[in-house]
């Protein structure tokens, strides 16, 4: 974990309101793993005050580069969308705990919903590199929100849209529900809470392991402030930033 001043290498739009940032990530900063994130300071001064967390979407150690996939939502992400290559970035990372590799003998099923796509893409690439085959399911509201150019190549890639404008009509969770009940699936997911909750129900029913990358408001990002509490079914909380963001999805209280 380091704080570094680095620079934006390129920026491109990948879907409506989504863009990919490619940035210099020097080897001295430590190699990020899929599911880990960084925090980014949008602007000097007091407004916006807090750093913003974003998951790594890829890492290229040879080129000292990493990418993020970002959706414009509010002031900080809007400011990011206007940056030009060469812009200075104040980054802190890699932070948090990423995805653990699937147990041997399980069939990894990777599920991305909306802007959760970044860390899931990174996981897919990591599994590919390790020679582990995986299924990749992306759910989005509509075709315009699917970053097609980023989708993994190869077999086992499926897109679902709520309105059927691309791929099969339906949700990513529907696609997971349609998998054979007796498969030895290992679920990996990042996406909106309703999707995460639906996967939890499927995982619980079928006894599938479920690694879930969560999102919570953060202040410190390093486990010091207790701000990013994720409620657990058994009571108590995990810290999204330090215990997660990848948590055992079956322990999280999703609603």
């Amino acid at each position: 974990m380091v704080r570094i001043d680095t620079e934006l290498l390129s920026k491109r739009r990948v879907a409506e309101g989504y863009f990919e940032l490619r940035l210099r990530w020097p080897s001295g900063a430590g190699a990020p793993a899929a599911g880990q994130f960084l925090t980014l300071r949008a602007r000097g001064g007091g407004d916006p005050l807090l750093r913003r967390p974003f998951a790594f979407a890829s890492h290229d150690a040879a080129e000292d580069e990493a990418t993020l996939v970002i959706q414009e939502r509010g002031s900080a992400t809007r400011a990011l969308a206007t940056l030009e290559p060469g812009a200075k970035l104040d980054l802190l990372g890699p932070l948090g705990r990423g995805f653990a590799f699937p147990e041997r003998g399980t069939e990894p099923v990777l599920v991305a919903g909306g802007i959760g796509v970044g860390p899931v893409l990174f996981l897919r690439a990591s599994l590919d590199a390790a020679g582990v085959a995986s299924r990749f399911i992306l759910g989005a509201r509509t075709a315009a929100l699917v970053p097609e150019s980023l989708l993994p190549r190869g077999a086992g890639v499926e897109v679902r849209t709520d309105d059927g404008s691309l791929g099969t009509r339906g949700t990513a969770a529907d696609a997971v529900a349609a998998l054979p009940r007796d498969a030895r699936v290992a679920l990996f997911a990042c996406g909106p809470k309703p999707m995460m909750a639906a996967l939890d129900r499927i995982a619980a029913e079928r006894g599938w392991p479920y690694q879930a990358a969560v999102e919570e408001w953060m202040a410190c990002g390093v486990g010091a402030c207790m701000g990013c509490a994720v409620p657990l079914k058994g009571g108590g909380y995990s810290r999204a930033c330090a215990d997660g963001p990848v948590l055992d999805g079956r322990l999280v209280k999703w609603d």
Binding site: G46, V222, A224, C225
Partner: protein, 321 residues
């Protein structure tokens, strides 16, 4: 103590070497320098160990320790506001036993001064936390959090009533000879009254301010942004409130005042020191810039050199009123 406005120094004149004394006395304790990190924003130190040289800090004020472990308040616990943020952490902490077992050893191994922030729901809780940590040993001071606005039956009631501040200060005073700091709430009509109560009851210093009660509503979802609805406002937005509090307190009591609230730069800290503070804490700013406290320290030292101020305690005398 001399003052020499460097901006008026003749161009080209090399300043003679000058080494200001950065140490600060708080009761029986000497801090190596005036800059600490504020309770609740720095965990128990180790969380930030990879990001800055912890031992360069004057003090680490730990996250609050309570007798029992506390899970904290429901989520969401954070919301950003203009130049500030709201939190309703709810004193989440592992509890006294786990603190002594899991956190104290690492704190003991550090060169910085450890000030344990103590909270409780009742008077006995404060005493018990201090007694047991005294028995374990290895900390330098206590900061009584009588002012946390996030716990219903807890700090807030203590912190707004001078008589209760006096009670808890006295009780803890009997439990320790170490430096005892009482952290004051700004959510009062006159903060000088609670400051005086702390002084009269044996506190070695007061720290001010804790967070202001605030609330934010998400207009899209029509829900309060915090699950607990209200929370504590911190960050630059509230700095003027903190500076005013320190100015007033420092003219009402003789014990040292530790100033905090919205300090992000050396100039912010110098505002507090000029207004009457003897030391400062950096809280929320660390979230934006993990090294903020050390940059504040460097800036204070540079300013003292430039203005040839010998001791930190001299700074408050330089305010021109």
């Amino acid at each position: 103590m001399g003052l020499n406005d460097a901006t008026r120094a003749p161009v080209g004149a090399a300043p003679e070497p000058f080494a200001p004394d950065l140490s600060v006395r708080i009761g029986p304790l000497t801090l190596a320098n005036p800059v600490g990190v504020a309770s609740g924003t720095f965990g128990y130190g180790e969380e930030y160990a990879a990001l800055l040289d912890l031992d360069a800090l004057g003090a680490v004020y730990t996250k609050a320790v309570t007798v029992e472990p506390r899970a904290g308040n429901p989520a969401p616990r954070l919301a950003e506001t203009p130049c500030g943020m709201l939190n309703s952490i709810g004193l989440a902490n592992p509890g006294l036993v786990a603190f002594i077992r899991d956190k104290l050893p690492a704190l003991r191994a550090r060169r910085f001064r450890t000030v344990v922030n103590v909270a409780g729901a009742a008077l006995d809780d404060y005493v018990r936390v201090v007694e047991e940590i005294e028995a374990a040993g290895g900390v330098d001071a206590y900061e009584l959090n009588v002012s946390c606005p996030n716990v219903k039956s807890g700090g807030m009631a203590f912190g707004t009533d001078p008589a209760l501040v006096a009670l808890v200060t006295e009780a803890v005073r009997r439990a320790t000879k170490r430096a005892l700091v009482v952290k004051l709430s700004p959510n009062v009509t006159d903060i000088r009254e609670t400051a005086r109560a702390a002084e009269a009851s044996g506190a070695d210093a007061v720290s001010a301010i804790n967070t202001l009660v605030g609330m934010a509503v998400d207009v899209k979802t029509r829900r309060p942004r915090l699950a607990m609805k209200t929370g504590g406002l911190s960050g630059p937005a509230l700095r003027p409130v903190g500076v005013a509090a320190v100015y007033r307190i420092s003219r009402a009591v003789k014990i040292p005042v530790i100033g905090l609230g919205g300090i992000a730069t050396a100039d912010d800290a110098l505002e507090y020191l000029l207004a009457g503070a003897d030391a400062v804490q950096v809280g929320t700013a660390t979230f934006a810039d993990p090294g903020a406290a050390l940059r504040v320290l460097e800036g204070i030292e540079a300013w003292m050199r430039q203005n040839r101020v010998a001791r930190v305690a001299d700074i408050k005398g330089l305010l021109i009123e």
